[in-house]
Symmetry: C2
């Protein structure tokens, strides 16, 4: 095998939801040697961490690192402050499930870990079509982070590259489901619901559940989501 075809290492942010599972599958299909990275950030939907473990294993991640960062210290979101309920209706504007600076914090940790691992590709499953209006999911945000990353790190200063790869960014939720199905992702392993119970059963009512269900329906693919 030529060096050209040797797998290149990548760090893949893996929440345990549908999008990040498909992102990992895409990275694997592109011949990346994938190290999964998950965050225990005090999220309400802790079942997604177990889901992340199952997904990393099923999709052949080379390693799986969990980093604990307690975002309840910041609060201000329905996902990290149990006093703020998860809404059942879509919001006008940015919803209360928005976690201030979450993707910036996740990507900052990923950047540090990638530097230690000497990895120059970070995959993140953001998408800017069927999303919840979170500002830190837009292409211009990712481009700004990539620029920052090159300036922030030892690797960047020494001329290394750092790529933030977002293979889902222009896909609809149905498109993501189709890509995942083509790559053999077992969606039953994933948990998207913002208030999934400890067994990973979804509420069926929150924005994350709604987007996910509509994605399967539009894609015409059987939805294996377990509801509480």
């Amino acid at each position: 095998m030529s060096a050209e075809n040797d797998p290149v290492a990548a760090l893949v942010l893996l929440s345990g939801g549908l999008d990040s599972a498909v992102t990992l599958a895409v990275a694997r299909s592109r011949n990346f040697h994938c190290h999964a990275l998950s965050f225990d950030y005090g999220q309400r939907h802790r079942a997604e961490l177990e889901a992340a473990r199952r997904v990393a294993s099923a999709l052949g991640a080379a390693s799986h690192k969990f980093i604990s960062i307690d975002l309840t210290q910041i609060g201000g979101s329905a996902l990290t402050d149990l006093r703020i309920p998860v809404p059942n209706q879509p919001a006008d504007g940015i919803p209360v499930t928005y976690v201030p600076a979450r993707n910036t914090i996740f990507l900052a940790f990923a950047l540090g870990y990638a530097e230690i691992m000497d990895v120059h590709n970070i995959f993140i499953g953001v998408n800017a079509i069927d999303y919840s209006g979170y500002p830190d999911c837009r292409p211009e945000y990712i481009a700004a982070f990539e620029r920052l990353a090159r300036l922030a790190t030892k690797a960047g200063v020494e001329g290394g590259e750092l790529h933030v790869q977002t293979p889902l960014i222009s896909l609809s939720k149905a498109g993501i489901v189709r890509v995942g199905a083509d790559l053999g992702v077992d969606f039953s392993l994933t948990v998207s619901c913002y208030q999934a119970d400890l067994e990973g059963r979804a509420c069926g009512r929150c924005e994350a559940c709604r987007l996910r269900r509509e994605g399967f329906q539009t894609a015409g693919i059987a939805d294996p989501t377990r509801y509480a």
Copy 2:
């Protein structure tokens, strides 16, 4: 008092070292209502957290928040991995005291907290003259973060401003000491040493000690640093 002269709120990153103390004093002198933010990140030199507490109090911070983020989970630095010794000699290039992505992680948390607090100014005491060659202390890095911050947040999307203020960025260490002395900073409260003992006494040998000592000498100002 006119609204124009009313204090504007600011978040000030406060490590407990000399630079961040002077930064807080500068922010106060510019009539900002200052909320101090310190990070317990598993640093070797934990005495700086006690120093931060004293400095915030002495300089009249309106509040003081501590956020715990365990950077030993990433490691790879003499400041967060006790197996890597702090060097006594200046390094060629970026030294082992560099903590991967530290300022990006700190600023990301500050961004989230600022959003919750509805604060639009973040002060950070980086400087690009007498520093240790850390990439995330350069003006181009800060400019890139400011750009990212405006794209990352709800406030930014809704047209709000976010300013990352770096009043020390072009000052030499001696210049920082002079500014601090003019503003009445009690330098004896601050701890800069990378391996200060639990009472905050400095080693006198590490890069942080060397830069600090030379700063006082060049400024011609008495150095109150306590050495072990």
